[in-house]
Amino acid sequence: MNNKEFIAKLAKQCRITAADAAGNVETLVGLMTERLKENDQLNISGFGVLEVKMRNERLSVNPKTGQRFLVPPKIVPSFRPSSKLKDKFK
């Protein structure tokens, strides 16, 4: 289901216009991004946990040339599905 369909469905569900739904989705996503930037954890019960994780720098090798790299550390968003959800799709 792509974005368009998703928003359409959402609009239908909430009985609002698609434009409104799109706007709300954008706001919501923006909020979530902001929270994640602040290292906050978004724990949606029945759904899962959206959080950020730190990846340390590491040595990596280009398999072709054998050239070694130092990959910089980074912060990545991650999602852990709740057990309810996991069971649903097992």
């Binding site: 998703f6 290292n39 949606i44 730190m54 990846r55 340390n56 912060i75 990545v76 991650s78 649903k88």
Partner: protein, 434 residues
């Protein structure tokens, strides 16, 4: 900051931001997530712009070992729910580290193994994620510097390519990206802060073309200029490691310093005590002398503190008796030995000596006083015993170690160190200089 938000918190925020009622916001957020689940059930994939893609992935069955029994077990194939964050989200979240690009390292580079792995732990993310990252942002210009030589003729296009790096790696070969990263690092360094704004806007198509044109230009240059030395780029990560090192070093230094100063203190105290005791030594030395002398002088019925009385004739017998009692009275012994035969004849002689000694010993002889004597004539002869020193001899005869030069001079000895056991010395009599 490091907070845990739940569904209702999110809806409250939405209500505020989106200018909708709280109940509507709550309903919306609930619907939002429910719909994701629904979409997954239906299609197995849900894509939300700006957030990411939720997908149901198939996991193949694999053979493994039962954790409890240890016997072989097959983990059946199943599905799992995956989330792939959208590029915008990834970038926003990684903003503190946006400056950094992979860096080539030499074979000699050894990574620091003192860091704890932070990958899957929640706690460290909260502690180290942002605060460390913030520091990183300040450092990039310094840390990326050594890697790349300035290439002035890079067009402005490269600035937009900095964020493209992680994505384009997949598309291009790694060698090419290596080249460009080296270039871009320099650019990043030059326009450090400005890049932040450019990282936000991205378009994959735009970047491929400029990069293609860039490659042939840069490759020949970069190959030569690639530095050999390893680069320790990411200072904030090393923060814990480096901060640990100086501390023990400092502790070590200060411990050594303390030990050093206490030793010096001991030495100076020692010296001070020695100096002081030297001043007292003469008194102390003379004191044992005193009882000897008085004993020598003392008649059975005479008071012992009449030491100032001179020329008191003590009985030889008394002398003899007292001689052996006090071992610090070699003078008496000498008198006894040397002038044994003469004693009767020269009683006065020997007792004059003792007399003098007594008078000497009673005075507080200080270093200044050592010049107040004249070696007047021969007193007696002394054979140096093994392990006997001039100072010991002086102390014996004069009651004062410091008076040994008189002996040496009297005997015309050029090198006092050459004296050995068995040598004969004439011990002069010392008269106070008047």
């Amino acid at each position: 900051m490091d907070a845990k938000l739940n569904h209702s918190d999110l809806s409250t925020l939405l209500a505020k931001e989106g200018n909708i009622s709280a109940s509507k916001a709550e309903y919306f957020t609930k619907a939002f997530f429910d719909l994701i689940i629904e979409g997954l059930e239906q299609d197995g994939i849900v894509k939300i712009n700006g957030l990411g893609t939720f997908k149901i992935a198939e996991v193949a069955s694999r053979s493994s070992v039962d954790v409890n029994t240890g016997e072989k077990i097959e983990i059946k194939g199943h599905k799992k729910l995956t989330f792939t964050p959208a590029d915008a989200l990834k970038e926003s979240v990684n903003q503190p580290f946006a400056m950094f690009e992979p860096v080539e390292v030499d074979d000699t580079y050894q990574p620091d193994n003192t860091e704890e792995p932070l990958d899957d732990a929640e706690q460290p993310v909260e502690e180290n994620g942002r605060p460390a990252a913030v520091k990183a942002e300040e450092e990039p210009s310094i840390t990326t510097e050594p890697v790349v030589e300035p290439v002035a003729d890079i067009p402005a296009e490269t600035e937009t390519e900095a964020p493209a790096e992680p994505e384009l790696k997949e598309q291009e070969t790694l060698t090419e990206t290596v080249v460009t990263t080296a270039v871009e690092e320099q650019v990043v360094e030059e326009a450090a802060v400005e890049n932040n704004t450019t990282t936000q806007s991205r378009d994959g198509e735009e970047q491929i073309v400029p990069e293609a044109t860039l490659q042939p230009n840069e490759e020949p240059i970069k190959v030569q200029e690639r530095p050999a030395e390893p680069v320790m780029v990411y200072v904030p990560k090393k923060k814990t490691a480096t901060t640990e090192q100086p501390v023990p070093a400092k502790k070590r230094n200060s411990a050594w310093r303390i030990a050093f100063y206490t030793i010096i203190g001991f030495i100076t105290g020692f010296v001070a005590i020695k100096m002081m005791s030297r001043g007292d030594a003469t008194v102390a030395d003379s004191k044992p002398q005193k009882p000897v002398a008085t004993e020598v002088y003392k008649r059975p019925d005479v008071a012992s503190d009449s030491t100032n009385e001179n020329n008191q004739v003590a009985k030889p017998v008394a002398v003899d008796e007292k001689v052996h009692l006090n071992e610090t009275a070699p003078t008496v012994v000498v008198a006894d030995n040397a002038a044994d035969e003469e004693l009767s004849a020269n009683e006065e002689y020997s007792f004059v000596m003792l007399d003098e000694l007594a008078s000497i010993s009673l005075r507080d002889i200080t270093l200044a006083d050592t010049t107040l004597y004249v070696a007047d004539g021969e007193l007696t002869k002394h054979t140096i015993a093994p392990d006997e020193t001039l100072t010991k001899i002086a102390k014996r005869y004069y009651g004062d170690k410091k008076l040994w030069p008189y002996i040496v001079k009297y005997n015309n000895i050029s090198n006092p160190n050459s004296l050995g056991s068995g040598d004969e010395l004439f011990i002069p009599r010392l008269e106070p200089k008047e």
